[in-house]
């Protein structure tokens, strides 16, 4: 039985943080699509809707996304194409048309659920988070945030914004494995590639969904100094399998872990080669 002990809608993030620190049962409320479904929820809700966190801007070579911006807000904002078409692809394949109007970027990052489409892209895009803690604002890279166990890290902290550096010579690629366009996909792969002519000078690959959290594939560095071909992409796919074998999980009965291990190299290779060529 759901039991909401109290509800606050503070006007500033610092007030939200203070309220959260005064109760062990406080939960921040962003879009609400997840919290509202928790049948045994017992907490004080701190609604962030009045905190001024629904903003999107492009400045100084960065895309800044306020934590309360919804996926639809992002899809409609012209600056969202900055990180590349694949970023829009990842956004538009998030959930279904209605839920995209509700789920927020901050809530999705804080929850870090396996079906969060942007987890792998944010890993390879060098994204960072602007976070509020008692001593003031601080920045943490998305990769460190993931490595720090997000739920632990966010005790006594509040995500204010997501920052994505816009790098002109970087190509973003994205692929997902699912039965239908609106299915909860069990596997996401993202890659960012910089080239000089046809030669790869930097390559990053990340996989998410089928793992406890998103991970970088170190084998992607093998691409540096080479021309990206199908066989090179397949080599990175095999490296991904080597690195992740035994760690693959799946809550989707349509995609058992053994099957995901089988298709992982293909999804990674398709992302790298199909997306970048």
């Amino acid at each position: 039985m759901r039991k909401i002990l109290d509800y606050h809608a503070p006007a500033a993030p610092i007030d939200a943080l203070r309220i959260s620190q005064s109760s062990t049962k406080a939960r921040f409320l962003a879009g609400g699509s997840y919290l509202s479904r928790e049948k045994t929820l017992e907490c004080t809700l701190i609604d962030l809707k009045n905190c001024g966190l629904a903003h999107i801007s492009e400045a100084n070579g960065n895309l800044r996304i306020g934590a309360m911006s919804t996926i639809t807000d992002l899809l409609l904002h012209p600056a969202s194409s900055g990180p590349g078409k694949a970023f829009l692809q990842a956004l538009s394949s998030t959930g279904h048309a209605i839920v995209r109007n509700q789920i927020t970027i901050g809530g999705s990052i804080a929850g870090m659920l396996p079906w969060f489409n942007l987890a792998a892209p944010l890993m390879v895009l060098d994204a960072s988070l602007l976070v509020l803690e008692s001593s003031g604002e601080t920045t943490i890279s998305f990769r460190s945030f993931v490595a720090n166990k997000p739920r632990e890290y966010l005790k006594n902290r509040l995500i204010l914004a997501l920052n994505i550096p816009l790098v002109s010579d970087r190509e973003l690629c994205f692929s997902r494995l699912s039965l239908t366009e609106v299915d909860f996909a069990p596997m996401f792969a993202a890659a960012s590639i910089s080239r000089e002519g046809e030669t790869v000078k930097a390559a990053y690959v990340a996989v998410s969904g089928c793992l406890p959290g998103p991970v970088m594939i170190s084998g992607a560095s093998e691409l540096i100094g080479k021309k990206l071909s199908r066989s090179e992409a397949e080599t990175v796919g095999q490296a991904a399998l080597h690195e992740l074998q035994g760690k693959i999980i799946s809550a989707n009965p349509n995609f058992p872990p053994a099957y995901l291990e089988e298709v992982l190299p293909v999804v990674v290779a398709d992302c790298l080669y199909g997306g970048a060529n």
Binding site: I4, S36, L41, I98, V99, Q102, V182
Partner: protein
Amino acid sequence: MKKNLKLQINGTWKEFSIEPGTLLLDLLRTAGYQGVKDGCREGECGACTVHIDGRPINSCTLFALQADGRSITTIEGLGNPDHPHPIQEAFVETGAVQCGFCIPGKIMSVKALLDRNPDPDEHQIREALSGNLCRCTGYVKQIEAVKLAARRIREKKGDHHE
């Protein structure tokens, strides 16, 4: 401990005093807006779709207090049997309604689609309806209905480019 909130529902401001855990779906149905259907309560089926400030939202996954001060449109705000909305007329005329349970939510999604895109193609229609399930599986007729409604609304506005 109850909380007060104000909602503009179908153009009329109303005040409520509710438990903070009340979902918007339950508030609306209790207040008499029974065209908002109680389906999955998981944000999956779309039967409870309403507009908040013009955007379709699953009212089953939103705490009512989140909508405080905002404008809500339910299916009752679009039309009625005497004065149906062109989308409702098109659904009836094309035979797009079977059991009817999903239809209010679908029509709210279609209304939002046609407000921003008066001439959607089939892919865009299917995309816009991706959050509204029909277990009678009558999708083909519903897509026909959306195309008919779109054409009629464009014609009404004097846009005869077809």
